[in-house]
């Protein structure tokens, strides 16, 4: 049901383009800075993006390609550290979007991207399997509380490895909370943590808010007060080596536009402010 809103919007956009013969209908012009049919926005655009952006960016791709039929957007989704390493090794790409500012800074320090802009934020939340076997957060789990109160000592807990952004954030909040529970496994990415929670193999896990949206009712999520301390901020920028800077800028502009922000909000991301 969450997808219904954007879908209707997309259909409206499609019909709008059709009836106006490719010209900019007022609705499209308002929804973003993308100029349909701009001849400079053509060819193939390669976007390297953090894995957590997979669903959202696929939706943005559709918008951009509908507005620019000559354009083909290709994505490579991976962990942010891996993406930064690829760019630093000279992988050809046009846009880079990472899940944390540290990885983008590595690329910026090498002079390969200028002025990346933060377009979304993603706080950590505590998740439990649908049945909540360890009784996390009970009773009366409506209020935002500290991790120490939410996590009983003997729970099986999965978090990301400290080497990846979600793990660095998890280590920060666990240290700040003084929660007695210790992780039982350091998974290699946030989806692996989520999978172990969905399967019921662990009692709890620390994942991003946007990942909870992806699995829906299979997990129960709990916000906690320390979450505000470890909010990942997502920067995006056009790469210096881009062979299609106009198209790359159009993609970045779309992400930053009101329409892009609405799609990100629907997927559970917070606005960057």
């Amino acid at each position: 049901m969450r997808r219904a809103g954007p879908l209707v919007l997309g259909l409206l956009l499609l019909s709008g383009c059709g009836s106006s013969g490719g010209g900019a209908s007022p609705g499209v012009a308002e929804s973003g800075p993308v100029e349909p049919g701009d001849p400079a926005i053509a060819g193939t655009l390669t976007v390297l993006a953090a894995a957590s952006l997979t669903d959202v960016f696929a939706e943005l791709e559709e918008r951009l390609e509908v507005a620019n039929p000559q354009l083909e957007v290709r994505f490579s989704f991976a962990g942010s550290s891996a993406l930064a390493a690829q760019v630093l090794q000279g992988a050809p790409a046009d846009v880079l979007a990472t899940a944390d500012e540290a990885q983008m800074a590595r690329v910026a320090d090498a002079g390969l991207v200028t002025d990346p802009e933060v377009f979304a934020a993603n706080p950590l939340v505590l998740v439990a399997p649908a049945g909540n076997p360890a009784g996390i957060g009970l009773p009366g789990d409506v209020d935002v509380r500290g991790l120490a109160e939410l996590l009983p000592e003997d729970v099986t807990l999965a978090v990301c490895a400290p080497e990846v952004p979600c793990g660095a954030a998890a280590a920060e909040v666990l240290a700040a909370s003084g929660a007695p529970a210790a992780p039982d496994t350091y998974e290699d990415d946030v989806r692996a943590v989520l999978t172990k929670v969905v399967l019921g193999e662990v009692d709890a896990g620390l994942v991003y808010l946007s990942d909870v949206h992806a699995v829906g009712d299979d997990v129960r999520s709990f916000a906690f007060s320390e979450g505000a301390q470890a909010v990942n901020r997502y920067p995006i920028g056009v790469l210096q080596e881009s062979g299609a800077p106009a198209a790359a800028q159009a993609f970045v502009d779309l992400v930053l536009s009101a329409e892009g922000q609405r799609i990100l909000a629907d997927a559970g991301f917070l606005s960057p402010s």
């Binding site: 962990g79 550290s81 891996a82 390493a85 099986t156 999965a158 490895a161 080497e163 990846v164 992780p183 039982d184 496994t185 350091y186 998974e187 290699d188 692996a192 172990k196 399967l199 019921g200 193999e201 662990v202």
Partner: protein, 267 residues
């Protein structure tokens, strides 16, 4: 143009592809050694967690090999000697882990031994035992992936062994169990040793099933391949050093054991 020396020489059409194959298989190892920051070797090895990961790798691979010997040798005997119908189906089934992507193996292990799994939920209810995220889970994952290597080696050795010795032992009054222990086993010992080494090496390198089923926690479930993978996310130099260590351990074992025990085994 005739004679033993001529036939031992490699036919020219085989020489070039064989050399290419050697280059293809060995060059990546050379690349690893060339890029190794040798000056940092000591510091990287002393880094927290590295010794732990290496120790855990060696212990769990050895336990997995022991378990494979215990269960795999009898299975190999059944496959090689029993005349039961459906042996070829059985052989195909038990060697599936050879070709199965290890991460799929990890998922499958979850469904059986996980907390919600067929056997795992019973273990949890009846004894309060949960396997995932324990060293036992590492051993299980490694055994699942590595045992077929042992089974295939031993089965091959059993088929190649001369069964007349067993017949003689039987006619001299030895029971089936005695024959197996005193005649068959010594006969195929080199094959068992070769299989055990292969099995151990495969277990040492196991990654996919381990990180899926056993998880990743330093000292409990983080083996060297997992440490290498995670180091790659943060510090590629460290990953190279850890890779070289793992390579050295595997190579040394394969070479040492080959000379010592496997000399008689046909190459």
């Amino acid at each position: 143009m005739s004679g033993a020396r001529e036939t031992a020489r490699v036919p020219a059409p085989l020489l070039v592809p064989a050399a290419l194959a050697v280059a293809f298989l060995v060059l990546p190892l050379v690349g690893l050694l060339v890029r190794t920051p040798w000056s940092e070797l000591g510091a990287q090895l002393a880094a927290p967690g590295v010794g732990e990961a290496l120790r855990l790798s060696l212990v769990s691979a050895t336990l997995a090999t022991g378990l494979s010997l215990l269960l795999g040798v009898p299975l190999a005997w059944v496959l090689a000697r029993s005349r039961a119908r459906g042996r070829s189906v059985l052989r195909a089934l038990v060697t599936v882990p050879l070709v199965l992507p290890p991460v799929v193996g990890g998922v499958a292990l979850f469904l059986v031994f996980g907390r919600q799994g067929i056997l795992g939920s019973w273990l949890d209810d009846a004894f309060g035992i949960t396997l995932p995220f324990t060293t036992a889970a590492v051993v299980i994952a490694e055994t699942f992936v590595a045992m077929p290597f042992l089974v295939i080696s031993v089965e091959g050795a059993l088929r190649a062994a001369d069964s007349r010795f067993e017949d003689v032992a039987a006619t001299l009054g030895a029971g089936r169990w005695t024959t197996f222990r005193r005649v068959t086993l010594p006969l195929v010992a080199p094959g068992v040793a070769a299989g055990a080494v292969l099995c151990w090496a495969r277990a040492l390198g196991e990654f996919g099933a381990t990180i899926t089923f056993a998880g990743n926690f330093p000292g409990t479930t983080q083996t060297m391949p997992l440490a290498v993978y995670l180091a790659l996310q943060r510090d590629p130099e460290a990953a190279i050093v850890l890779s070289v260590v793992l390579l050295a351990v595997s190579l040394a074992t394969l070479l040492l054991l080959r000379d010592r025990w496997l000399g008689r085994a046909p190459a």
